[in-house]
Structures are given as C-alpha cells and as structure tokens.
Symmetry: C2
C-alpha cells in the first residue's frame, strides 16, 4: 500500500498540497466528477489549477476522462486494474438520467465490437444511460 505521495513521485509528478487535496477528493467520490464539482469543493482554488492538475493526472493515467454525453467532461480515478490506455481493457460507464451522476462500471468490460472492413478500431467509448441503483430503488 503506497501513499499518494509515493504514487505521484513514481509518476514524476511533483507533490503539492493542491494535488494531494484534489487526489483525495477524487478518491472519496464514488462517481465521476466535473471540473466544476471540484471547483465547488475547493472554493479557494482557481479553476485553471484544477484544470491543469486533472490534466496532469490524466497524462500519467492517474485519472481518466469520461464523456457521458452530458456535454461536460467528467473525470474519475483509475483503479488498480484500470489500464484505461489499453483498448482491450476498457470498462463502460453508466449515466443516471435521474440524479445525473456517472459511475464507472469497472468490472463490466466492453464486449468485442466488430467494425466493417477498412476501419481500424483504436478506442471505444460506451455509455449506458438510464436509472442507477440508488435511484431505481431495486
């Protein structure tokens, strides 16, 4: 079990107070968050800093970006087995039309998708929309 500091250092990311706070915030959240979500959580911080911090995390595959169709980019921490840079390991995302939250269904891998001849698949984005478990009451 490594600390956040060790994780950042292992990725050659300088450890700062802001980055630790943002990482912890993402780790606590069980859902994908927008930049505005983070901004609201730290009203002292500037949007640009958050933006660039998340971008830094993204480039080092600490977080991955989620496009859930709301038009607003969301972010979530990569998990241990995330490997979100490898195509064959993509998981799907679920967006709840009721509470507007998006969660990673990490254990649900995307099935093999066939594309026509001549097309080369490099990346797949799959978002299922509907009602989440918290809202459905099932």
């Amino acid at each position: 079990m490594q600390t956040i500091e060790q994780l950042l250092e292992s990725k050659n990311i300088r450890v700062t107070a802001m980055r630790l706070l943002i990482y912890k915030f993402l780790a606590e959240k069980q859902v994908a968050v927008t930049l505005s979500d983070i901004e609201n959580a730290f009203d002292k911080a500037d949007r640009t800093t958050l933006y660039r911090t998340v971008k830094t995390f993204e480039e080092s595959t600490i977080v991955h970006q989620i496009d859930d169709g709301t038009g607003i980019t969301k972010y979530a921490l990569c998990e241990k087995g995330c490997n979100c840079d490898i195509e064959t390991d993509l998981h799907l995302h679920f967006h709840c039309n009721n509470c507007n939250e998006t969660v990673c269904l990490t254990e649900h891998k995307i099935p093999q998708i066939k594309v026509p001849n001549g097309f080369i698949s490099e990346d797949i984005n799959l978002v299922v929309k509907g009602v989440c478990d918290k809202c459905s009451g099932l």
Copy 2:
C-alpha cells in the same frame, strides 16, 4: 417513395424553404455534421434557425444526435430502419481520428450490454474511434 414535403407533413412539421434546404443538406452528407457545418453551408441563414430546425427534426426522429466525444454535437439523418428512439435498435458510430469525420454504422447493431442489479438501461451510446476506411486505405 415520398417527397421531403410529404415526410415533414406526416410528422406535423410545417414545410418551409429553410427546412427543405437543411434536410437536403443532411441527406447529401454521408457523415454526421455539426451545427457549424450547416452554418457554413448556408451563410445566409442564422445559427439559431439551424439550431431550432435541427432540434425540431430531432424531436420528430428525422435526425438523431451523435455525441462522438469531440465535444461538439453532431447530427445525422435517421435512415429508413433507424428507429433511434428504440433502445434495442441502436447502431454504433465511428469517429475517425484522422479526418475527424463521424459516420453511422447503421448495419452494426450494439450488442446486448449487461448492467449490474438495480441499474436500468434506457439508452446506449457507443462510439468507436480509430481510422476510417477512407483514411486507412485498406
């Protein structure tokens, strides 16, 4: 074979010159287009008109919206068997990272996606990214 006028009338959409032009533009295009694409094609028309026209078309399932992950909403005409309002008939979209074009792969249906207990699937968005047939040269 019905005319565009008949199609619009059958959907209770008033036939106007602008709407006919926009419909024809979409019909000619083999790829999904953005609002700006339409705007550039008719520099006489106002963006708001295009925006609302496409929205009208969308509500009557004449066009469907595509979120290909570029951050810009795209639109494409629904085809005969499109039924894009029915979940089980969703097709996938392919976005080319090279030419930046997005096409509907209408014949490629989305496979059944399993979601965890408590989750209710209502809609699925699947975008495959890579290199299209025109760019791959295969």
